[in-house]
Symmetry: D2
Amino acid sequence: MIRALVWGENVHEQKNRVVREIYPDGMHETIARGLRESGGIDARTATLQEPEHGLTKEALENTDVLLWWGHAAHGDVDDAIVDRVVQRVWQGMGFIALHSSHFAKPFKRLMGTSCALSWREAGERERLWTVNPAHPIARGLPAHFELENEEMYGEAFAVPEPLETVFISWFQGGEVFRSGMTYQRGNGRVFYFRPGHETYPTYYDANIRKVIANATQWAFNPNITDHDMTKAPNVPVEKALEPIEERGPRLHAAGEEGSR
Amino acid sequence: MIRALVWGENVHEQKNRVVREIYPDGMHETIARGLRESGGIDARTATLQEPEHGLTKEALENTDVLLWWGHAAHGDVDDAIVDRVVQRVWQGMGFIALHSSHFAKPFKRLMGTSCALSWREAGERERLWTVNPAHPIARGLPAHFELENEEMYGEAFAVPEPLETVFISWFQGGEVFRSGMTYQRGNGRVFYFRPGHETYPTYYDANIRKVIANATQWAFNPNITDHDMTKAPNVPVEKALEPIEERGPRLHAAGEEGSR
Amino acid sequence: MIRALVWGENVHEQKNRVVREIYPDGMHETIARGLRESGGIDARTATLQEPEHGLTKEALENTDVLLWWGHAAHGDVDDAIVDRVVQRVWQGMGFIALHSSHFAKPFKRLMGTSCALSWREAGERERLWTVNPAHPIARGLPAHFELENEEMYGEAFAVPEPLETVFISWFQGGEVFRSGMTYQRGNGRVFYFRPGHETYPTYYDANIRKVIANATQWAFNPNITDHDMTKAPNVPVEKALEPIEERGPRLHAAGEEGSR
Amino acid sequence: MIRALVWGENVHEQKNRVVREIYPDGMHETIARGLRESGGIDARTATLQEPEHGLTKEALENTDVLLWWGHAAHGDVDDAIVDRVVQRVWQGMGFIALHSSHFAKPFKRLMGTSCALSWREAGERERLWTVNPAHPIARGLPAHFELENEEMYGEAFAVPEPLETVFISWFQGGEVFRSGMTYQRGNGRVFYFRPGHETYPTYYDANIRKVIANATQWAFNPNITDHDMTKAPNVPVEKALEPIEERGPRLHAAGEEGSR
């Protein structure tokens, strides 16, 4: 069983009648339920309002894939928790950023860019095209699928060139958007998936659920590796793999830690 | 003329006799001189010790390509200055991280990874192989070139999969390293180049100078674009490119700023 | 001056009244004129009907960037000429495939895929979005630009994941398409650019002309490198860069050619 | 069970005493045995000498992942069979090119490059470094592993920039090589893996076996997709997803096949 953790900001569900009516248990719970029903995934939830936002050291150590939905309160996420999440991704935890989480702190930290885009909230039609139908995240998805009402996000989306582009969206109002893109950061796989504005029932859609479940399976690293991608070990001369002799001047004493 | 700015930490040149003898004017000045002599590049310098580390708003606005060398004092670089540098890269300034700057704050911010690696200071032989000889950064370089004394950096180097791998190093002690890699972040091009340990005269080497000059030319964006990759503009319904009517519920009032 | 060669199939211009009226001098000549007027490019033309399709050994040796437009007669292009073109790309010649040349023999050979897509000829509106505004090929182009009448090409486009996606098209009928993508094959840069159906005056459009001129500049390799990416040289033991002794059994006699 | 097919050229095993003594049942059989013992893989073999090289239409239709080892007789492989293999990769069959198969016809067709490299047969030491330890193909592999005797392959290796670089080799004689690289062509995943010269017992090595088994698992597409990446379907105007009216001149009659 893959241990997924769905993190929800859980703000608009409390404050906005429309959102509450669509997602009475919170968006995070609806997303988690979709994962559970997909099979092979044990999905828990955590929210901004919990102590340490529900992202304690222990919670992350028991998480294989973290899914993130935030919008109104990106700035309220504690920087120390963001560090912890990012470190865990580097160790091998998968990270799936949903919709408005393009501006979530951990996603921006992992991308190294502003993650800006253009947008319009008009309930227009979005059509997602599967541009890499053989990708594990696209398995079982049709050549294209529609969401009758969605917020528009438009290019240029300020993210790095992805490893793979899996989906591209067409919008009724005339824009396009790279809606499904893969990355790797340290040992962790990262997927951005565009749809999911809180005033529409997007996370009940069967195709959307399938993409999110596929992405969770794809982002899962079955043996979070022993290679720690955050350490910078010194290799002493006498332990060099090929025999060498030390030559010339040096800065560091033997066995010393490097500078950071 | 490309306006390059070579930023030097300038610590070991002050404290360490060996480094001072090799680089009596500072490593930054030696690197800048190489750029000037390459033609077409106007190279200034800035150091950690200057007010705002020499990286004032005005200085950056007059910089096309920033080259960075740091090692002992990464932690002393002010986070507000790092933000400023990163923002300027997103606008289109080139950024070239040299050697131990794999751990420099702006480079780690742009990569979104730990940027860790293994290392050994033994003055061993490094041989750089040109794996993409047609790349603009490799122009005029031979199939391979040697540095008789260098610090070793070994894989796995914890950076994202690059756009392009230009050079790979062979080390006498048995390691390999991806020594020249390209990235783009926002509108800015980024190049990491491995050699340059401060106790060796690496920045006087003709091949190394050519790579750094080529990389500066490559990273130059002649018209830092009008597309601002840090803004998230709202597109009002009545200004949609295709005529649409607003449908369904919405969160935002017309013309409102999005959440960050 | 960059030496561009615009290759035109030149079939529909002869057979179809509509095409002839739009492009009385042939599409290739209109494209070449656009390059000449952009500055810095010396553009010649060649057509299918010429001896060796105008792509003699000498013609290619005097070409820095080859632009290719074909549609009705892909199958009539001689395989030996295709080999010659591909070899020249590997040496460092740029190659720009225009519109229906997604099915041109040299493009398919360079991609290693079927290059299939879906299509519709309805004169609908196409809007190209600049997704990488800092890319040299996008310089001077707006955030988006329109062609009021174009043929539709739809995803999934069966090409390899590109190095960079520069433009994505929106179509009135509901499709999207990755309309500008970069690749490298051997020492040669390759760009695919979608618009250009022969029954519309696309190659007179100022934005389209700018993209094609930019792409020609980008694909130009100023010193087609001395590294020959088609040779597989043997390195004899006694010329190894590090001293080694031959050990164990071997297949090849000293200095022998490898198997192909 | 993944259905793997190991194709062996089977020439040197017949002609060369040294090779026959190391691989008395043929290299293909030794490789297949390693796959079978890894679990979850049903591995058959085929050789050049069989009718249709053992690669009948039926054989390929029952193959999920094809592994290819060739060296002396690349030119003897029938072009029609190569077409069949390439088409099957485009449909979703995995393809793993081993060692000297860098010059195998199907690999060159899939890459679109010359696939040239430099080489030396001196039985020298090769050390493979795992540069992407989290990659599925690197699971269970150490940070580095050695082959005491191998043929050297040196950069520049004339292949396209890979999706991912998984392994890089260090050679005793002073060269480096990108020894494990991933690609996708159509729906099929492609992996190149360097080691495996026929005069050394490389395919008995536990690490090498693990890489090949991992790569076979990685290249497996559990539901070879319904999206046929070789068809170019016409979408008639009246079946457009958004209502459009046909405008302007056209070349093709309704429902007509496109040009190839």
